[in-house]
C-alpha cells in the first residue's frame, strides 16, 4: 500500500518533470533549427519544379502515369457530367 503511494507520487513527480524537460528541450531545439533555417536559407522554396518533376519514378516500374491518369479520369468524368 505504502509502496503503491510512493510509486504513484514518484511517477507523478518524475513523469511531469520529464515531460517539462523534454518539451523545454524541444522548444530550444526547434527555435535553434528555425533560426538556422532562416539564416542559411532565405529563399522560401528551392527548385520546387525540379522536385515535382522527379517524383514519379517508383522502384522498378513507372508510377509516372498516375498523375496524368488522375487528370484523364477526372476530365472524362467532367466531360460525362457536362454532356448529360
Amino acid at each position: 500500500m505504502e509502496n503503491l503511494l510512493s510509486e504513484g507520487v514518484s511517477l507523478m513527480v518524475f513523469g511531469m518533470g520529464f515531460v517539462f524537460v523534454f518539451l523545454t528541450l524541444l522548444v530550444f531545439a526547434t527555435s535553434l533549427m528555425s533560426k538556422l533555417v532562416v539564416k542559411y536559407q532565405p529563399a522560401p522554396e528551392p527548385k520546387p519544379s525540379a522536385r515535382k518533376a522527379a517524383k514519379p519514378s517508383a522502384g522498378t516500374g513507372s508510377a509516372a502515369a498516375t498523375n496524368d491518369e488522375l487528370v484523364a479520369v477526372i476530365s472524362a468524368a467532367v466531360h460525362k457530367y457536362r454532356s448529360r
Binding site: L4, G8, V19, F20, L23, L26, V37
Partner: protein, 433 residues
C-alpha cells in the same frame, strides 16, 4: 427432434446472460452516441458494433480457442487443458485462471491443445491479436495522424509547447487519484492500472490504447471507451473550466498573426523531434517515431503517394480493425465492474485537471510576457483532442470578442499536447511497464 432441441439450446435467447444483455444495450448506446450525437463516430461506431458482437451468446467471437473450449466444458477437453497447463484441477475457473497467468510457452501449448479439440479463436479475438496485442494498429494510426498534422502553428510559436506540457498534469494527477482510490479501499488498481487510467487524460485515443495494451490490457475496453467519449465531450467539459479560470479581459486578448513557416522548417521538425526522442526517451520511440515518420512523409513533398495512403486507405483500414478489436474487450465480465465506474470518474477528472493546468500555464506565460500577448484560452487546447479542443478555444475567444480568431494560435498547443502525452506515455512505460 433432437436437432430442434440442439438448435434451441444453442440459440442466443436461450443462453443470454444478464451481463451480455446489458453489454448489448451499452453497445447500442455507444452506436446512438456515435451516430446521433457525433461522439467520435470513426471509433465509436466500430467499438459499439464490436461490443455487441462480442456479447452474442454462444458465438464466442471475442474468445480465444482456449476460452471457447472451456466455455463448452467437455470433460476430456478440460482434462487435456489442465494437463497442458500443469494444474491438478480441471475446474473451468481454475483452467482459465492458469491460462491467463501462463507464460508464452505454456500459452502457445494450451492454444494448440484447444485447437486439437476442435475449437478456434473467435473472429474478434483474432482481430485483437493482430491489431492491438501486436501493438501495430495504434502505431499505424499515429503514423496517419502524423501525416495529417500541420506543425506550422507550433513552429511559428514554439513556446506553445509549454502549454502542451502543462496540460499533461491531468495524466499524472489521475494516476495519483487512482492510487488514492485504492488506498481508500474503494477500488483495487495496481500501479500499472493507475498509469493506464491516467493516460485517458492525454485525450489521445491511440496513445491510450497503446499504453493500456502494454500495461493493463484487461482495462482496455473501459479506458478506450472513456477516452473517446470524453474527447467527444470536450466542447461540454472544457468551457466552464476555462471561464472560471480566466477574466473577461484575458479572454479578449488578441494574439498577433503567426509568422510564415518555411517548408524546410516543416521538413526538419519531425527529424529534430525524432532525434530528441532517440536521445532522451527510447520508450517513446515507437509512438513518436511513427508519428514523425508520418509527418515527414507529409512534409517532404517527394512521397506524396505514400503520405496520401497513410492518411486514407491505410488509416481507415486500421481504424476499422482497431475499433472492432477494442469492442471485443467490451465483454460483460470485464466491463460490468465497479472498476469501470472508477475509470469513468477518474477519466473526467483527468480531462478537467488537464484543461485547468493548460489554462493556468497560459495565464502564467501571459503574465511573464507582459500580460497582453497570450490569450489564456489557448491553454486548454494543450490536452490535445485535436482539433476539437482548439475549436473550443476559438469559440470562447469569439464569444469574448467577435474579432478574436484563436484557432490557429490554439493549434500549436493542440498538437503539442499530442507530443506531450506520447512523452508521458513513454515515461510510464519505462517506469511501470
Amino acid at each position: 427432434m433432437e436437432k430442434l432441441l440442439t438448435l434451441l439450446t444453442a440459440s442466443g435467447i436461450y443462453n443470454i446472460s444478464a451481463g451480455q444483455f446489458f453489454m448489448i444495450l451499452i453497445g447500442l448506446g455507444l452506436l446512438f452516441l456515435a451516430i446521433r450525437k457525433n461522439f467520435e463516430p470513426l471509433l465509436l461506431v466500430p467499438i459499439g458494433f464490436g461490443g455487441i458482437m462480442a456479447n452474442i451468446p454462444e458465438a464466442g467471437l471475442a474468445y480465444s480457442a482456449v476460452e471457447n473450449a472451456v466455455h463448452f466444458a467437455k470433460p476430456e477437453v478440460l482434462q487435456s487443458l489442465a494437463s497442458v497447463l500443469n494444474i491438478g484441477s480441471s475446474d473451468p475457473h481454475d483452467i482459465l485462471h492458469a491460462y491467463h497467468g501462463s507464460n508464452a510457452t505454456v500459452h502457445a501449448a494450451a492454444s494448440l491443445a484447444a485447437q486439437d479439440a476442435g475449437y478456434s479463436n473467435g473472429m474478434l479475438y483474432n482481430f485483437y491479436l493482430v491489431a492491438i496485442a501486436s501493438g501495430v494498429a495504434p502505431l499505424l494510426i499515429f503514423m496517419g495522424v502524423g501525416a495529417m498534422t500541420d506543425f506550422g502553428p507550433l513552429l511559428a510559436n514554439p513556446k506553445t509547447l509549454f502549454l502542451g506540457a502543462a496540460a499533461q498534469f491531468g495524466i499524472f494527477a489521475t494516476v495519483l487519484g487512482a492510487v488514492a482510490l485504492t488506498m481508500l479501499g474503494l477500488m483495487d488498481f495496481s500501479i500499472q492500472d493507475a498509469a493506464a487510467i491516467g493516460i485517458i487524460g492525454g485525450a489521445d485515443g491511440p496513445t491510450a490504447i497503446y499504453v493500456t495494451s502494454l500495461l493493463a490490457p484487461q482495462l482496455l475496453g473501459a479506458i478506450a471507451v472513456a477516452a473517446y467519449s470524453y474527447m467527444a465531450l470536450v466542447p461540454l467539459i472544457q468551457p466552464p473550466i476555462m471561464r472560471a479560470l480566466t477574466t473577461e479581459a484575458e479572454r479578449k486578448i488578441k494574439m498577433s498573426q503567426l509568422r510564415h513557416v518555411s517548408k524546410t522548417e516543416k521538413v526538419l521538425f519531425p527529424i529534430v523531434l525524432l532525434i530528441l526522442v532517440a536521445l532522451l526517451l527510447p520508450d517513446a520511440a515507437p509512438l513518436l517515431g511513427m508519428f514523425c515518420f508520418g509527418n515527414l512523409m507529409r512534409e517532404c513533398g517527394v512521397v506524396d503517394r505514400l503520405s496520401d495512403t497513410a492518411q486514407n486507405a491505410l488509416i481507415n483500414i486500421v481504424t476499422i480493425f482497431l475499433g472492432l478489436s477494442v469492442g471485443s474487450k467490451l465483454s460483460a465480465d470485464k466491463f460490468l465492474d465497479f472498476q469501470t465506474l472508477g475509470i469513468l470518474l477518474l477519466g473526467i477528472v483527468a480531462f478537467g485537471i488537464g484543461t485547468a493546468c493548460g489554462v493556468l500555464m497560459a495565464k502564467v506565460m501571459n503574465k511573464m510576457a507582459g500580460g497582453d500577448s497570450i490569450n489564456p484560452l489557448i491553454g486548454s487546447a494543450g490536452v490535445s483532442a485535436v482539433p476539437m479542443a482548439a475549436r473550443v478555444s476559438n469559440k470562447l475567444g469569439l464569444e469574448a470578442n467577435a474579432q478574436n480568431f484563436l484557432l490557429m494560435h490554439a493549434m500549436g498547443p493542440n498538437v503539442a499536447g499530442v507530443i506531450g502525452s506520447a512523452v508521458a506515455a513513454g515515461v510510464m512505460i519505462k517506469f511501470v511497464g
